[in-house]
Symmetry: C2
Subunit: 253 residues, 2 copies
DNA sequence: CGGCAAATTGACACATCTCAAAGCCTGTGG
DNA sequence: CCACAGGCTTTGAGATGTGTCAATTTGCCG
């Protein structure tokens, strides 16, 4: 669950250490695979809150990885409503889906300030031709996304708003901690209540009232851009959080 | 969008033609790839309504493909509630996810009578080591599942129950038609209103009333186990159905 | 024909939304 | 250093959607 540092080398501005951490939490990488990832050609870009990094209905030629900050998948409806179908944290190869789907069925936007790396599809194609194990790990990352989608479906469909928010906080904390981007039950969460409402499928007003209930219960505090989980055990029990779907077990894949 | 038949050979009881149709709707297969799929070692099994074909929290050694009938992914909550997070039609490699996730985060159940094929993971591993293109197509199938999950999230979060059901019917019809399991705007849908409620995150009573509204609008009829879409154009417009997420374009992947 | 599961209906309770206003922060310009 | 603007959060009140419970009807199968 720690960021990988090799032989004393500091985490470099120019490598994809969080992605490596994402994989190494779930399987072992050979030196050569780690090297492939460290040298993966890409371009960097920073986005401001609400900026679109990938647009619906386009056909991207590269896929993005979150390096810093948060991103989300967004679908816009005709009546002006919006659904956020996923949140992505550093180390997430967000847009790997586009490598196979070809056409975007949604947008990817920045929540708060967000740094990402864009990897050309020809690089992914090359890896998929030459490195079966690394390919399976990429594949795994998209399949974990699917598992998270299912978990969100269960939350939105059958849990109370209170449980839903609690569940989301458990999930985001664990995912951040896995790549070394959170510890001590605290994490940066630069998300407005309006954005939260679009994740939960609720109105802003209701989100506001629900958060107050959670605060009153003493499980969690969300103040400005910082979330503090005061009692993870009770929060996860309350929301029936079962981390199986995050596939955090280190095992050959 | 048609079932593939090679040189007059009828669709065999012992091959995975719907899976091949699923792929050939989205990319071309070489003869050798088609042969690999046709000869893919597997065992067959039939399940009755509501039977579990894969159980939560187990670690499967094989993954299943739907051959006939419908299957669903199910999550059971402590209070007895249930969420169905996906429906699967013939040709869907439902449980391919388990090949990479290792542990099930949900169950797979039969909706009505359902025939499936179980493929051993060692076969999938072999293909992933030896056949990059076929591997990408398997990968694609899981990534389409993820896209469908996102679509369901949008429906459940931000569309009206009426739109949600309409959207679901558009989706299921197209998916069935793609593998040759439906035509003429009619398809078998052996799903109870209670099961539907668990897909939509609603109560049975509300589902019942919503269906009546849809019938009254004249868009669609759901009688017993048969759904007839009376006006696909209006049904899809009404539910803002955009098939992009099904990735039905035939293009190299 | 009887029995059971599924579909349907009605009445009422409650959750959630909408609209509108007020309060609270934070950054900026005077 | 203060005043203000704008975005976000919070509050209140009333409308609406959806759930629950319980009873009735329908349809199918033995």
């Amino acid at each position: 669950m720690l960021v990988v540092r090799r032989s004393g080398v500091e985490m470099s501005e120019h490598s994809l250490q969080t992605l490596i951490a994402f994989f190494e939490a779930r399987d072992s990488l050979t030196d050569s695979e780690r090297e492939t990832l460290e040298r993966l050609p890409h371009r960097r870009h920073s986005f401001h809150r609400n900026e679109e990094m990938v647009e619906t209905h386009t056909r991207p030629k590269e896929s993005c990885i979150v390096l810093k900050g948060l991103a989300a998948r967004a679908v816009y409806l005709k009546n002006g409503a919006r659904q956020l179908t996923a949140v992505h944290v550093p180390g997430d190869f967000v847009d790997l889906h586009a490598f196979l789907l070809k056409f975007m069925d949604h947008s990817v936007i920045a929540l708060g300030e967000c740094d990402v790396a864009f990897v050309p599809h020809e690089q992914l194609l090359r890896i998929s031709e030459e490195q079966p194990h690394l390919t399976r790990l990429f594949w795994m990352s998209t399949v974990i996304d699917a598992a998270i989608h299912r978990s969100w479906l269960t939350c939105i469909g059958r849990r109370s708003p209170e449980q839903h928010i609690a569940h989301l906080f458990c999930e985001v904390y664990l995912r951040l901690e896995t790549v070394g981007a959170a510890k001590d039950m605290t994490f940066e969460f630069p998300v407005t209540q309006a954005e939260m409402a679009d994740m939960l499928g609720l109105s802003v007003v209701h989100v506001n009232r629900t958060i107050q209930q959670l605060r009153a219960k003493g499980f969690v505090n969300w103040d400005g851009a910082t979330v503090t989980i005061k009692d993870f055990a009770r929060l996860s029990q309350f929301s029936e959080f079962d981390p199986t779907y995050l596939s955090l077990m280190k095992t050959p894949r």
